[in-house]
């Protein structure tokens, strides 16, 4: 397992260099990212049937996300950004369109296959922290490894390492209600990266935090992005938060209306 981490980091080094080139990591949405492609969406549509009326939340999304990218998705509530995020995070399946994750078509997998992809490839950070209150901090961080079958001793070591990365190694035995909101969100980050998942989906991660703690949490996202080369997809309606990303796309009425590179973060 440890050798796996080292390998991953070695690869990430290359990607970070790669990211330095704005022509590759940024560019127009829908541009291929060559070998470093992480996610590719092709004409993703999502329709909800509410009684007799059908409501189209996503109306043809095309998007490429490169490995190690830090992408912000902005949009007002009801714009479809949460639906997009659920599809990107393999929590939901699109009504139509194709979704390639690391080159594999995941748009038509069973719910158990999607669960396995979430377990191995995606870490989530939600607005409401979503930690299990009954479990201690370190047990919360261990949770993904519990479902991927990593032995308990090894899982504990990896969880402690992840907690160290978010500066919480001393809070492992506390329970979520004994630590602050900012700390809870950092536990969520640790849980997202612990299984060496290459993607973090962050849905309004600072929504429940004040600006100081919010900035603190955002810096940890930047840190794992820089140090571990984790691809981060951040959903927010807050321009200040969205500006932490290196690329910003805006969603409105179920389509991407703009895509820009944030020069300052390159």
């Amino acid at each position: 397992m440890n050798s796996g981490i080292i390998k991953e980091q070695a690869k990430d080094g290359d990607i970070l260099k790669f990211q330095g080139n704005p022509a590759v990591s940024g560019g127009e949405s829908g541009t291929a990212n060559g070998n470093a492609q992480m996610i590719r969406l092709e004409d993703i549509r999502m329709t909800y049937d509410v009684g007799d009326i059908s409501y189209e939340a996503l109306r043809g999304i095309d998007l490429d996300v490169g490995k190690g990218e830090f992408l912000s998705i902005m949009g007002a509530s009801g714009s479809g950004k949460s639906t997009l995020m659920n599809i990107l995070g393999c929590l939901d399946k699109p009504t139509s369109g194709r979704y390639f994750l690391e080159g594999r078509d995941v748009s038509n997998l069973t719910s158990d296959e999607l669960a396995e992809i979430r377990n191995k490839k995606v870490g989530f950070v939600f607005q409401g922290f979503n930690l299990i209150q009954r479990l201690s901090v370190v047990e919360n961080v261990e949770l993904p490894m519990y479902y991927s079958g990593i032995p308990s001793k090894e899982a504990r070591d990896m969880a402690m390492e992840a907690l160290k990365l978010v500066d919480l190694s001393d809070k492992g035995n506390k329970f979520p209600n004994q630590i602050s909101g900012g700390e809870q969100q950092r536990v969520a980050i640790a849980r997202a990266i612990v299984n060496n998942a290459p993607i973090i989906m962050a849905d309004e991660p600072t929504g429940n935090l004040d600006s100081v703690r919010g900035a603190d949490v955002m810096n940890f996202f930047k840190k794992v992005n820089a140090e571990r080369g984790v691809t981060i997809i951040l959903v927010s309606h807050d321009k200040n938060i969205a500006n932490y990303g290196r690329r910003l796309i805006t969603v409105k009425d179920g389509v991407i209306i703009s895509s820009s590179i944030i020069e300052a973060n390159l």
């Binding site: 979503n130 299990i132 308990s152």
Partner: protein, 409 residues
């Protein structure tokens, strides 16, 4: 693929934590199981105690005993009951003694007679028997001796007296050596039988005087016919064999052609014992199944609370699914939780049942018996209740949509 131990341990730990968090609710949930299992254990222990009591009272009647009674007659259209026709003689009894499956025998004749000692008299059952009576009936003497084979052969005037008859005639005086009068014939009391108490039909078994069968036939009754022949088979297994041997022998001795019915009747007391025992078992099963109904009710209680628990923890289920829990992982988690609940209820119930059972033993004449069997069955059953009634809530949890579960407030 997965290290089963780790996953199972964590699920157990999670179930334990849930249990601890809602102590009162968990306790109330398992109360139905506790009562159900407790009732099953207690009733089965009572039933087994009763069956043991029946068994031992039947053993007291005599070991591996067969009774041969004269047959019924149907002369001129009048049907008389068993034991009326004079068909059995002492010679029949002596012949039976030589059969391979037979250990010993005693020709028997009983009649009610007045017994006199000095100024006292008492009407009691005079039983003519062989010297083997004590052995066949499993009934030792308390004082003195039983009359001997020699005394039977010589038709001696000796008697062995039962405790009730002795008390009525002699009061507190030791009857051994005294002479009692039966039908104007003097008998020397040589032995006092040990106390037997009442039989299953409420008869006082101790109200008896036993004299040699020969003396009975020749001097008291003046006949050659005996009322019955008591036979002790070599072992419990041999009773059926002895029964057929005796039937064949007596039919031959009485010259009964194959197409005619026997003029005697052989009763196998072991069979009667088995019948009585099986009716006690039926009783136990009946009571036990009534108690098992409360296990069912307890199971429904578990299902109810598991449904509440699943709804309460919708968000947790969403989180677990988001980090990669598959349907079967969620299913297993909740199944383990309901199983732990009901298994714990089962353990408490076994404790309660054993407590009730030993309280009954302590405060009533019935001696209850707790065996391993119902305990193990109750444990397995309560586990099954947990799995069965936990399945639907667990299934419901496993089918949740992660997006909706995460959004649940």
């Amino acid at each position: 693929m997965k290290p089963v131990k780790f996953v199972f341990f964590l699920d157990l730990k999670s179930a334990y934590k849930t249990f601890i968090r809602n102590k009162i609710r968990s306790f109330l949930t398992i109360l139905g199981i506790v009562i159900g299992v407790g009732a099953v254990i207690a009733t089965v222990s009572i039933g087994q105690g009763a069956s043991e009591a029946i068994q031992s009272s039947i053993n007291a009647m005599g070991a591996n005993m067969l009774m041969i009674l004269p047959g019924s007659s149907s002369l001129g259209g009048v049907h008389s009951g068993f034991g009326v026709l004079p068909t059995l003689t002492l010679r029949d009894a002596y012949a039976i003694r030589k059969l391979p499956a037979v250990k010993t025998d005693s020709g028997m004749m009983g009649m009610a007679q007045q017994v006199v000692w000095r100024g006292n008299n008492w009407a009691t059952l005079i039983n003519g028997a062989n010297s083997t009576f004590s052995e066949i009936r499993n009934w030792p003497v308390a004082k003195g001796t039983f009359f001997s084979h020699g005394q039977v052969v010589s038709a001696a005037n000796v008697a062995v007296i039962g405790n009730t008859a002795a008390t009525e005639l002699f009061g507190l005086i030791n009857p051994i050596g005294h002479t009692i009068i039966i039908k104007n014939i003097p008998f020397t009391v040589v032995g006092l039988l040990s106390i037997r108490g009442f039989n299953a039909f409420g008869q006082d078994q101790d109200d008896i005087v036993v004299i040699p069968i020969t003396t009975m036939l020749e001097k008291v009754a003046g006949t050659t016919w005996v009322h019955a022949i008591a036979v002790s088979a070599k072992s419990a297994k041999d009773t059926s064999k002895a029964q057929s041997e005796i039937t064949a022998l007596l039919r031959q001795r009485h010259h009964i052609p194959a197409h005619k019915a026997s003029d005697f009747f052989v009763r196998n007391l072991t069979q009667i014992a088995q019948t009585a025992n099986s009716s006690a078992n039926t009783f136990t099963v009946l009571l036990g199944s009534i108690a098992a109904v409360s296990l069912l009710v307890g199971g429904i209680g578990i299902m109810n609370i598991m449904l509440v628990s699943v709804t309460e923890r919708t968000r947790e289920i969403g989180i677990r699914m988001a980090v990669g829990a598959k349907k079967k992982d969620i299913l297993k988690q909740f199944l383990i939780e309901s199983s732990v609940l009901s298994l714990f209820g089962g353990v408490l119930g076994i404790g309660a049942g054993m407590g009730i059972s030993s309280a009954i033993s302590a405060f009533s004449p019935l001696k209850t018996i707790v065996t391993m069997e119902p305990v193990i069955i109750a444990l397995i059953f309560s586990l099954c209740v947990g799995i069965f009634f936990g399945f639907y809530p667990a299934y419901k949890a496993s089918r949740m949509n992660p997006v909706e579960a995460l959004r649940y407030e």
